[in-house]
Amino acid sequence: MDIFQSEIFANMSYIVASMLFIFGLKQLGSPETAQRGNLISASGMFLAVLVTLINSQIISYEWLAAGLILGVIVGASAASLVKMTSMPELVALFNGFGGIASLLVGSAEYLGASSLGLISLTAIFLTLIIGGVTFSGSLVAYGKLSEILPGRQITFLGQRIVLIAFFLLSLVLGAQLIFGFELFQVWNPIYSFSFLILLALIIGLLITLPIGGADMPVIIALLNSYSGLAASAAGFVINNNVLIVAGALVGASGLILTNIMCKAMNRSLANVVFGSIGSASSGVRSDEDVGEVKPINVSDAYLILEAANSVLVVPGYGMAVSQAQHAVRELGELLEDNGCEVNYAIHPVAGRMPGHMNVLLAEANVSYDQLQEPEDVNPVMDTVDVCIVIGANDVVNPDAKDNEGSPIYGMPIIEADRSKTVFILKRSMAAGFAGIDNPLFGKENSRMLFGDAKESISSLVAEFKS
């Protein structure tokens, strides 16, 4: 079996695994092929693991088998038992696990290897920092998404200064770890190593805690990118190509998503991470009222919907909160049976993670070709009879288009105000996440349907059925 244990066989297999990852990711880009793409990528992972297991460097299997078996049990049960609606936080948690794994690989190598060169030490430093930030950051994201932690921004005075100071300190410790110079009389590189891990974990907390709910999609995409970069750095620690390639692919895809999310909010990444929109925006429109809002009841709303030829549903985080997606799909089907065209307009940052609304609606069996992006629906908005805004606020705020003083000015929105009639499903008149008024509510063609979104939609469904 010499040939299977040889370096060349292992490396060839890693190349095949990398190719499978690339094909897999490519196919994940289209709904028709995505499921197959995921399987292809998984088979690449299976191959990489298998080849590694027969590697001649591995001399004992007890511990490794224990870790593998336990990991399979935990991973498989978490993935199959979790409710579909808890998917965002589970993805965040898995992301953190990838980060801590890379950190541990770097640590194991640091403590185990007898002599390490500058390159290995630099790579170890990077796995500790990136892996640690990914881990603690993802745990905070998990906490916020699962509502264990409050979803609002958690800040304290001088947070930015502390963050910068800690970051600079970690660079100093990193330099000491890499070059091994004497920092103080008694300072051993092993201290730097331990403190670096601690600092990385704290930096991860400091970056994610101040992120408010509406900015979560950006930070989750960014953490996704970090987990890839951490794996890439671990690849440099153990001189392994497949880690570098796979990690870089994930790092790049995460960065693209981050960029898409930032563009969808018309903000820079630095502004998301360091600025806080909520505190900057208070009182901007205080001199100007949104005008008189016009409530509507379910029976009147039914009459308008019954006569509509085209309906556009605009979901936001509120739909997720009230779990209204199944009722929404049912209403959509009844409208279609009534000869009405129904579509769903989904803003890229609606919800708490990229694609959040799409997953919820897919779970409720809405066909994916009905899920449209703002640039598809805005040009034909004038032809829409009724726009139903469910728990969305800032993504339909017309101020983003025509109020230069608004903090969200310039953000691309779904121009619901241009449809013939807008129904806004809302619990109360409380301001949206950004804490700014929404003049859409006071427009001539707007009608407020107050109450829990799920109950309101269910009542509409009941009206249609009676």
């Binding site: 995505a34 990489a48 991973g75 898995f94 690989v105 994930v250 790049a252 693209i256």
Partner: protein
């Protein structure tokens, strides 16, 4: 600088560009499964974890390596299964 390092950097840079090309133009419908599928791929660090856990690098290496194997396996297995579960829901009528 040894040549292996230069080769690895070369691979890294090309892979990043490839990643940008691959993911650009993914419809927003697929953003969550794409993230979770990519996240499962980042569990590739399991390869390094297995090598640390099974080699004779001392107690610490085995211990940390085994913990790494556990976390990376959860990431890989859970990540692929969750992605698959999500993608199964995306249907066209």
């Amino acid at each position: 600088m040894d040549s292996l390092f230069v080769m690895l950097i070369f691979v890294l840079v090309l892979a990043i560009f490839l990643g940008f090309e691959l993911i650009n133009k993914v419809p927003s419908t697929l953003h969550t499964p794409l993230m979770s599928g990519a996240n499962a791929i980042s569990g590739i660090t399991i390869v390094g974890a297995l090598l640390s856990s099974g080699s004779d690098g001392g107690v610490w290496t085995t211990f940390l390596g085994t913990a790494a194997v556990f976390f990376a396996t959860v990431n890989v297995v859970g990540g692929y299964l969750v992605t698959n579960r999500m993608l199964r829901m995306f249907k066209k009528k």
